[in-house]
């Protein structure tokens, strides 16, 4: 039992990271209708920059973290400006191809600069476990979960109450009508890429602190697809829930498969199996709007 509780906690923590990355994906999809296949590589970019700052340049972690946020903003602006803006009005498939290309470019750049070895972040938080209801939890796990939740809360409030957040939702619903309000939709597009890069970058830093990073980190993006499709592609709450579900399911299923079937490696497919099952019952995801375009 203890073992499964541990798996559940692991699942929630990893799921929190998936939720963040899914949030980035959904923000881009909603505002610009672009399906971003480079989401996982944005995670990787943030993780490596933070790693580089702390380990190679000996910047204190908190500063490195803040600088990574700054870097993510710039990365978002650059990607939107250089890769996506020239494609406004082009067909969906061209835009998808560009995001796939972007993912390869980012991955190669990371391999070029940092190699393919696993990199380990320095220990920031104490290793002593905390006890929550008798279950030992590593402080870094707790911090990871709290940070993900906090970031999600911040963005929920932003979309609900800030002028720009409301304008982003308006743009997501009807671009031309948003333009008629005087909302500069190009700025909104750029902003959505910035947000996507920032939440992914934070996800990357968290992940680096838990597991260490390597140049395959981008495959995390693949896990985000079941999460967002579960959640319905265009819903923030759905992204949060979808991420958590995928995180928990893959950990629990993995444990169960090992215990009862003697199978290892079920982790990688569990999410997709469950996704297929859920979509058979709810074809538009748990929260999705009906007229959404499927990928």
């Amino acid at each position: 039992m203890h073992y499964y509780l541990q798996l559940l906690i692991n699942g929630l923590v990893v799921g929190g990271i998936y939720s963040l990355v899914a949030l980035g994906f959904v923000v881009i999809y909603k505002a610009t209708q672009v399906v971003n296949f480079a989401q996982g590589e944005l995670v990787m970019a943030g993780a490596y920059v933070c790693f580089s700052l702390t380990v190679q340049f000996h910047v204190p972690f908190l500063w490195a973290f803040l600088m990574t946020l700054g870097f993510s903003v710039l990365l978002g602006l650059a990607v939107e400006r250089l890769a996506l803006r020239p494609l406004i009005g082009e067909s969906t498939i061209s835009v998808i191809m560009v995001t796939i290309g972007l993912s390869s470019v980012l991955k190669s750049l990371v391999q070029l600069v940092w190699g393919t070895q696993i990199k380990v972040f320095p220990q920031v938080l104490p290793a002593e476990p905390l006890f929550l209801a008798g279950v030992p939890i590593a402080p870094v796990y707790l911090a990871a979960f709290v940070l993900s939740a906090l970031l999600f809360a911040v963005f929920s409030l932003f979309f609900k109450y800030s002028r720009l957040g409301v304008a982003m939702r308006a743009t997501a619903f009807d671009q031309q009508a948003a333009q008629s309000m005087g909302i500069g939709i190009k700025n909104i597009f750029a902003l959505s890429w910035c947000i996507a890069c920032v939440v992914s970058g934070v996800g990357g830093v968290i992940l680096g602190n838990i597991n260490g990073i390597n140049s395959q980190l981008g495959y995390l993006g693949l896990k985000v697809f079941p999460a967002v499709i579960l959640g319905g592609l265009d819903s923030l709450a759905g992204a949060a829930l979808g991420g958590l579900i995928v995180g928990v399911l893959e950990n629990l299923c993995d444990g169960l498969a090992k215990d009862f079937l003697g199978l290892s490696g079920f982790k990688e497919v569990a999410a997709f199996v469950v996704l297929v099952l859920i979509l058979m019952i709810k074809p538009y995801g748990l929260f999705g709007s009906r007229e959404i375009e499927r990928v």
Binding site: R163, V166, R169, A170, F173, D174, A178, Q179, G182, I183
Partner: protein, 266 residues
């Protein structure tokens, strides 16, 4: 007597090939309501989008002519800049942000305005449309067509424009509501001194609030004049107000009549 808006010999092309406006000229006098009438497909909405810059997203382009606001050229500028210069378009079909609530829609209308005036503007909108106040937290997509039109005009009031472009505000509304909406448009025009360019199918009600009217056909203006003058014009009466030339019921048997009608309705 000065014109806030002047359009000179405007030509608009969609998709690089379809010429829709063919040298259109018109003027909107400051502080007055100007009506722009015409059959379906005449190019009325295109004219408004050419003014507000919204052609951009539809692969439409101004290939010739000028749009002058206060004598300054605004054509070719992006829509967000034109809104900041005080031009606000209420698009055809209301174009409410359906998954935002009423007040969030109104915030979008005030997007280009300083935060400080938001409360005051909101109270003004609720003064004109008490029904919106009752439904302020309601998701806009669930409101009736009439309420959505009120919301669309409410967003325009939030923007405090100098020039308000209205595209068929009577579309799909019951006659009583049409009267109510037009009365509010007239009140707004008089209270704030806003210049209005009003596109309508419902010529009678449009000319009853306008001081001047233009009639367009096939991308050009074919007639213009003071509103009463147009209301009294036999051709206008016949083809836009649904009256026979001498007040009798219309007859389609007359070939000459048919040709004239064809000329009008494109």
């Amino acid at each position: 007597m000065s014109d806030l808006l002047r359009i000179e010999n405007l030509e608009v092309v969609y998709n690089d090939v379809v010429l829709v406006l063919k040298g259109l000229s018109l003027a909107a006098e400051a502080g007055k309501i100007t009506a722009l009438l015409g059959a379906n497909g005449a190019g009325k909405s295109t004219t408004l989008k050419a003014i507000s810059g919204l052609l951009e997203g539809e692969d439409g382009a101004i290939t010739d002519g000028a749009v002058l606001l206060d004598g300054q050229a605004v054509h070719g500028r992006p829509p967000e800049e034109i809104v900041r210069r005080g031009v606000f378009q209420v698009m055809e079909g209301r174009r409410i942000f359906q998954d935002l609530n009423v007040e969030e829609n109104l915030r979008c209308g005030a997007f280009t305005r300083p935060r400080g005036e938001f409360r005051e503007s909101l109270d003004k909108v609720y003064g004109y449309f008490p029904r919106l106040k009752e439904r302020r937290r309601q998701i806009a997509g669930y409101m009736s067509g009439g309420e959505q039109q009120m919301l669309a005009i409410g967003r325009a009031i939030m923007a405090r424009p100098r020039l308000l472009l209205l595209d068929e505000p009577s579309l799909g509304l019951a006659p009583l509501l049409v009267e109510e909406i037009f009365e509010i448009i007239q009140r707004f025009n008089q209270a704030e001194g806003v210049t209005v360019l009003l596109v309508e199918q419902n010529a009678r009600v449009a000319l009853s609030v306008a001081s001047r009217g233009y009639i367009m056909e096939g991308g050009r203006i074919v007639m213009d004049g003071a509103a009463e003058e147009l209301l009294g014009n036999p051709d206008v009466q016949e083809f836009y107000l649904g009256m026979g030339a001498s007040g009798q019921r219309k007859s389609y048997r007359n070939i000459k009549h048919y040709r004239r009608r064809k000329r009008w309705l494109g």
